[in-house]
């Protein structure tokens, strides 16, 4: 697989997405987030700047999930319905390159969106007296990685299931992937080794989304253990690569009909 067609597809996919209305809604949302963060800091207990950052980062994650799930699910099916995919893959580009290009384009779009929202959240916190730290940047990068993995999961599922099933399954995986971290460490599970093994199995196979959640660390200014960040990013990148390879294997056999 050569890189050039991938770059071309990614470029035009991004161009198309940037001109759709979604980015404008991200700007509107970022204003909303800033307002929400400020309101939350005014009307709740706790240090205002921390509350603002907490709310802002949460909103950023949620909008990232939204883009990953709802734009990922139609990424390929829309191409087939509009028969655009036939215009593209009847040219000298492999199916794999096409798909990777589409996903790269959507990932870039996701990053741009999250960056807009992230800047809004961090600015409000800063105005309230909490300057940005390198940990906030890590939390932001982790959030992007998480959303990219979620998007890959969604695209993989969408190759085999219809739109609504794909959305439901991926949301289940998202919730489960967040819950598993705390559940595995709970006393209830630790007293039941069999259940622990089931959860471990789930963990090895399905994405452990909880790993990418750095919000608590950011808010309470905790210092992550040595090597923790590295292993988190390594896990994320390996998992994303694994999903991308799986998608390529599936796409090779698929009838585009």
């Amino acid at each position: 697989m050569t890189l050039k067609p991938v770059v071309i597809v990614a470029n035009y996919t991004l161009k198309e997405l940037l001109k759709s209305k979604v980015l404008i809604s991200a700007f509107v949302m970022s204003l909303g987030i800033a307002l929400l963060a400020w309101l939350a800091s005014e009307f709740t207990f706790g240090v205002p700047a921390r509350v603002a950052l907490d709310v802002g980062l949460a909103a950023l994650s949620v909008s990232g999930y939204g883009i990953a799930v709802f734009m990922g699910v139609t990424l390929i099916s829309r191409e087939i319905e509009s028969r655009t995919i036939y215009m593209v893959i009847s040219r000298p580009i492999s199916r794999e390159a096409f798909l990777i290009g589409k996903m790269a384009g959507l990932s870039l779009f996701l990053m741009i969106n999250l960056a807009v929202l992230g800047v809004a959240a961090v600015s409000v916190a800063w105005l309230l007296g909490l300057p940005p730290s390198w940990l906030v940047l890590c939390a932001f990068l982790a959030s992007i990685l998480e959303c990219v993995i979620l998007m890959l999961v969604v695209v993989l599922l969408s190759l085999g299931a219809n739109t609504s099933l794909t959305v439901i399954f991926s949301l289940i995986l998202l919730v489960a992937g967040h819950a598993i971290g705390e559940t595995r460490n709970s006393l209830y599970v630790q007293l039941r080794p069999a259940l622990g093994r089931v959860l471990d199995f789930f963990h090895y196979l399905f994405p452990g989304f909880y790993k990418f959640n750095l919000k608590d660390m950011v808010i309470y200014e905790l210092v992550p253990p040595a090597g923790w960040l590295n292993s988190m990013f390594l896990y994320g990148i390996c998992y994303a690569t694994f999903l991308a390879v799986l998608i390529c294997l599936v796409i090779r056999k698929k009838d585009f009909n």
């Binding site: 050039k4 067609p5 071309i8 597809v9 035009y12 161009k15 198309e16 997405l17 001109k19 759709s20 509009s82 028969r83 655009t84 995919i85 036939y86 215009m87 593209v88 893959i89 009847s90 040219r91 000298p92 580009i93 009838d255 585009f256 009909n257």
Partner: protein, 305 residues
């Protein structure tokens, strides 16, 4: 140039409905530099065949053979083929020229080459005025024209078009047919599907005809007509009560004054001699023509048996 060897494709949708046999042992052959009309009723399997040619879907049995002109295999062939799907609909938020660049870049063309070729083809396709507009504002016919532009942008050897005339108005159809003729005259091979027989009859010398997933006929239109229509002649004379000795196939009253006699080829001379001898004026004479469409109804009946 491109051949189907015993291609069979069965669609299994779900367990409850019976599988659909879309193509059954189809052997077809697109000859180099031919202009082939791909005919068949709706659901005959034309689109499915094209999808198999381009490897969008895989046949259950049989193989597609890409000739030396196409580089001998699918991978090489893709840079020498231009394909337009039926009722194409492209990225709504891209502009016309952006979509053209996208397709051209995928073919490995430089930006200047893409510009030059677009400049050459856009006016011919009457789409030059709209290249700066977003595709969401395009009509069906305009999308078809833009699609055609991207099909020829890399000067393909083989052009495959699925129902290229279906989204166009009568003028547009004539224009596109003229362009297809021109491409064919310049040495390209053109293979296009249609369920409208007269369009094909007008511009093609060769046809491939599918009927319910089976190959009913392929070859030249002339040969098909010769084999399936006994050649007859029409002779027009003033209305007369005289009973002729020459056997005729049909006698038709065109008006109160004029009748038309239809005779077989071997009786043509006898009829003319008899008319001359009887001093009946001959007002006109021509070879009778059956349309390709009538012939297809005829052979479709045979295939169904």
């Amino acid at each position: 140039m491109l051949r189907f060897e015993n291609i069979t494709k069965v669609f299994k949708t779900d367990i409850l409905t019976a599988p659909v046999v879309a193509l059954e042992s189809v052997n077809l052959h697109i000859k180099s530099q031919s202009m082939v009309g791909f005919l068949g009723a709706n659901g005959a399997g034309k689109t499915t065949s094209m999808k198999i040619m381009l490897d969008f879907i895989r046949a259950d049995q049989g193989s597609v053979v890409y000739g030396a002109e196409l580089g001998g295999n699918l991978k090489n062939a893709l840079s020498k083929i231009g394909f337009l799907p039926e009722r194409p609909y492209f990225y709504p938020h891209l502009k016309g020229h952006e979509f053209v660049s996208f397709m051209g870049e995928l073919q490995g063309l430089s930006k200047t080459t893409i510009k030059e070729r677009a400049k050459l083809w856009a006016p011919k396709l009457r789409i030059d005025h709209a290249l700066d507009r977003y595709l969401r504002t395009y009509s069906k016919g305009m999308l078809q024209r833009l699609g055609f532009l991207t099909v020829v942008i890399h000067e393909p050897t083989l052009i495959i078009l699925d129902e290229p005339l279906s989204g166009l108005d009568p003028v547009g159809r004539q224009e596109l047919k003229a362009i297809m003729r021109e491409l064919h005259a310049s040495g390209k091979t053109v293979f296009f599907s249609s369920h409208v027989v007269p369009d094909v009859e007008e511009i093609c010398s060769e046809v491939v005809f599918l009927s319910s997933g089976k190959l009913a006929y392929q070859g030249s239109v002339d040969k098909l007509m010769r084999e399936n229509v006994g050649q007859t002649f029409w002779v027009k004379t003033p209305a007369t009560d005289k009973i002729l000795r020459t056997p005729f196939v049909a006698k038709e009253k065109l008006s109160d004054e004029i009748v038309r006699w239809e005779v077989s080829q071997q009786d043509q001379e006898n009829l003319l001699r008899e008319l001359l001898d009887s001093r009946i004026p001959i007002l006109g004479m021509e070879q009778s023509r059956k349309s390709l469409e009538e012939v297809f109804y005829q052979i479709k009946g045979k295939v169904a048996l």
